[in-house]
């Protein structure tokens, strides 16, 4: 698949931007019905993997449109690869960020009696009842990206995605490996919105690791805007030159942290979350030690693969932390830049 950024570059014509925008409407209209079928030739493996079960229809729902969203494109690529290997007739539909549309899409899918539905739970409770309708109809429901709320425990069999807290402990452990932190040392935890779940979970995980030596994390709100993040990060670093390390909990502080350290004349080790071109640059030139990647491809691939194992062999799906136990650092950052891995790794 062609790299996402390239696709954009050829689509974008400065003087024809408006024309392109007119197209946005058309795309939005077709988006919900755009389906891509990864069909399998009959066959599969000798033991029955990929062929044993009769009903091989499955639905893969994305919340955001992979056509315009790199991260969701990685997820879908993984799902399609797994479907092809496992001989699933996978139908992809996207809600394009519209919570109500997701409900409509799932309800409609139930009527066609597929064997499995793969869906994320970005809007939590809102999608529980429709997921349980599917389960009541005998359809297996597997969650990915965002886990289902507790109220859906009986309807959703497994979740594949980043475990924020667990990844946080990994990031914290890596920080302790790289930096000699002492009791009372100050570590900055900048986040777009520190009171949101992702920041609390990730920060909590990091702090748990730091508790081992007694270092203390300090939260700082940066907002999602780059300029605002630069303002607050630079000011904080100016006021706290004694900071020992930085763990950006989200993409915005992470991609601005190198510039802020330069502006404030501070230089300390950074291990953080999420990837972006700026973070890749930072890792390459040594300003950032490592980052935890959500590994979107795995979220799609593993959820669908577990579906195949359940379908053909009846294996119970498991919760999988798609972030794995590894971080992206100098040693493996090149994967993110390889042309033939665009859409898979980045």
């Amino acid at each position: 698949m062609k790299g996402h950024n390239e696709v954009i570059a050829t689509r974008f014509r400065p003087l024809a931007a408006v024309v392109a925008l007119a197209g946005a409407g058309a795309l939005a209209l077709t988006g919900c019905t755009a389906a891509s079928n990864a069909s399998s030739e009959t066959g599969g493996l000798e033991d029955g993997f990929g062929s044993r079960s009769e009903n091989r229809d499955a639905y893969f729902f994305t919340y955001y449109n992979p056509a315009s969203d790199v991260f969701w494109a990685q997820i879908l690529n993984g799902a399609e690869d797994a479907a092809e290997l496992g001989g699933l007739e996978l139908t992809h539909q996207t809600a394009e960020g519209d919570p109500d549309k997701m409900v409509d899409l799932v309800s409609t899918a139930i009527a066609t009696s597929p064997s499995i539905i793969f869906m994320p739970f970005n809007e939590g409770e809102k999608w529980v009842s429709v997921a349980c309708d599917a389960a009541d109809a005998g359809i297996e429901v597997i969650a990915y990206n965002v886990p289902a709320p507790d109220s859906a425990a009986d309807c959703v069999s497994a979740f594949v995605g980043q475990d924020f807290f667990e990844v946080g402990t990994l990031v914290g452990a890596r920080l302790l490996e790289e930096v000699d932190l002492q009791a009372g040392d100050k570590v900055l935890f900048p986040a777009e919105e520190p009171e949101q779940n992702y920041a609390i979970q990730r920060g909590g995980g990091v702090q748990e690791a730091l508790d081992e030596v007694g270092a203390e994390g300090e939260y700082l709100r940066t907002s999602g805007a780059d300029e605002e993040a630069l303002n607050s990060l630079t000011a904080w670093l100016t006021a706290n030159p004694d900071v020992k390390a930085i763990t950006p909990l989200g993409g915005t502080p992470h991609r601005n942290i190198v510039a802020a350290m330069e502006a404030a004349g501070v230089s300390v080790p950074v291990v953080g979350f999420d990837t972006s071109p700026q973070v890749i640059d930072g890792i390459k030139n040594g300003a950032i030690i490592a980052t935890a990647d959500q590994q979107g491809f795995i979220q799609g691939f593993q959820s669908v693969m577990q579906g195949v194992l359940w379908l053909d062999f009846g294996f119970a799906p498991a919760n999988i932390n798609s972030g794995g136990t590894g971080l992206i650092d100098e040693s493996n950052v090149s994967f993110l830049e390889e042309d033939d891995l665009q859409g898979v790794r980045f």
Binding site: F12, A24, S223, G224, E227, R255, Q278
Partner: protein, 368 residues
């Protein structure tokens, strides 16, 4: 029903409005207005202070000065605990953060004086920055600047046309268009940030973010825009029409000012300023993440309101808007420098905005 009509007043009494009955006589009274026109320097100063009161800028300006002086003293006394005057704070934060918010505050403020809002400010800002980066990377930053200004003004004018032609309240129309342009940013750019790299040469850097030790080029731009904006809004006849339309559109119309055209003009200026702020942001951060600029909408309106701009139209000043933005920014900065807990900084800033707005409302009553 009484059948006698009252005799017209034959003698001039102490009326609020007195008019001589005779067609030739002109009122001659002991004290006329020209007598109270100030002549000495002192009188002139007192006169201009009296007629600056309650118009937004003066009172909040005094508060801003007090805060600023306090910060400077604290910075001098305890340079380590409160490094307000550290070059990395002045040049790295203050002189870059204030101009952007001030330009956006002026943009929102001028539109508010005309009696309209544009809630797509943040979306327009993000989209124009992406246009700037993309075009700059493809054919050079000169074109990028032109394209960004074109996009910012164009988006605002479309909003203006919708509001003026359909008479839909600008709250709703621009809120809807805001969603549209955020979506459009994702559409033209994808979810990864647009990156400014190859197109950023020394000239571009110096022109928009040049570092002069304790201040940055953005501050120079604010000064230029502030003076031009003041001349336009407070001294140009078109600025006068903006006040007239926002204050009382019926009265303006009765005097043959076309309110629709004046509002479109305000939307156009708004768009130009938003696009310029977008360029300043993009050159500073070297990137623009689609969907990340929505917060700027209400921050800009807050800056204008803190600076004494009326939410109902017809009232506000360029100096006030700049001071409003500066006050918000230095308080934000001061809270971080003073090591206020990161969770609560927004809480304090929100509180200050509300208090300043209430303060301005009280001061408004003192206008003469």
């Amino acid at each position: 029903m009484p059948d006698t009509h009252e005799a017209p007043p034959t003698e001039r009494e102490q009326h609020v409005l007195t008019a001589p009955v005779s067609t030739t006589s002109i009122a001659t009274r002991s004290r006329t207005l020209s007598d109270s026109v100030p002549t000495t320097f002192g009188e002139r100063v007192r006169d201009s202070i009296r007629y600056t009161r309650g118009r937004g800028a003066l009172e909040i300006g005094i508060i801003f000065l007090a805060v600023l002086i306090g910060f400077i003293i604290a910075g001098l006394v305890a340079p380590n605990d409160f490094p307000f005057l550290a070059p990395s704070n002045l040049s790295g934060v203050i002189s870059q953060s204030i101009p952007v918010l001030a330009l956006l505050g002026i943009a929102a403020g001028i539109l508010m004086i005309a009696g309209e809002f544009d809630l797509s400010l943040g979306a327009n800002l993000g989209f124009s920055a992406i246009v700037f980066i993309r075009v700059s990377e493809e054919i050079g930053w000169g074109w990028g600047v032109a394209a960004a200004l074109g996009s910012g003004i164009g988006i605002a004018l479309v909003n203006g046309l919708i509001v003026v032609v359909t008479k839909i309240p600008s709250f709703i129309a621009t809120l809807g268009m805001g969603f549209f342009w955020v979506g459009a940013s994702f559409f033209v750019n994808g979810t990864a940030p647009a990156i400014l790299s190859g197109a950023k040469d020394d000239v571009l850097t110096t022109l928009f973010v040049g570092d002069f030790g304790v201040f940055r080029m953005q501050l120079v731009w604010l000064l230029i825009m502030g003076v031009v904006g003041w001349l336009f809004l407070h001294r140009h006849k078109l600025g006068n029409h903006i006040f007239a339309v926002g204050g009382n559109a019926q009265a303006a119309k009765a005097i043959s000012i076309n309110p629709g055209r004046v509002k479109l003009l305000a939307f156009g200026i708004f768009g130009g300023l938003v696009a310029f702020a977008a360029i300043l942001i993009a050159v500073r951060t070297n990137s623009m993440q689609p969907g990340s600029t929505v917060d700027y909408t209400l921050m800009a309106i807050a800056a204008a309101v803190v600076g004494g701009t009326s939410l109902l139209g017809g009232r506000g000043s360029i100096i006030g808007m700049i001071i409003g933005a500066a006050l918000i920014r230095i308080i934000e900065n001061g809270l971080i420098l003073a090591k206020a807990p990161g969770f609560y900084i927004q809480l304090f800033v929100g509180l200050i905005i509300v208090v300043a707005a209430i303060f301005n409302k009280l001061m408004e009553g003192k206008a003469s």
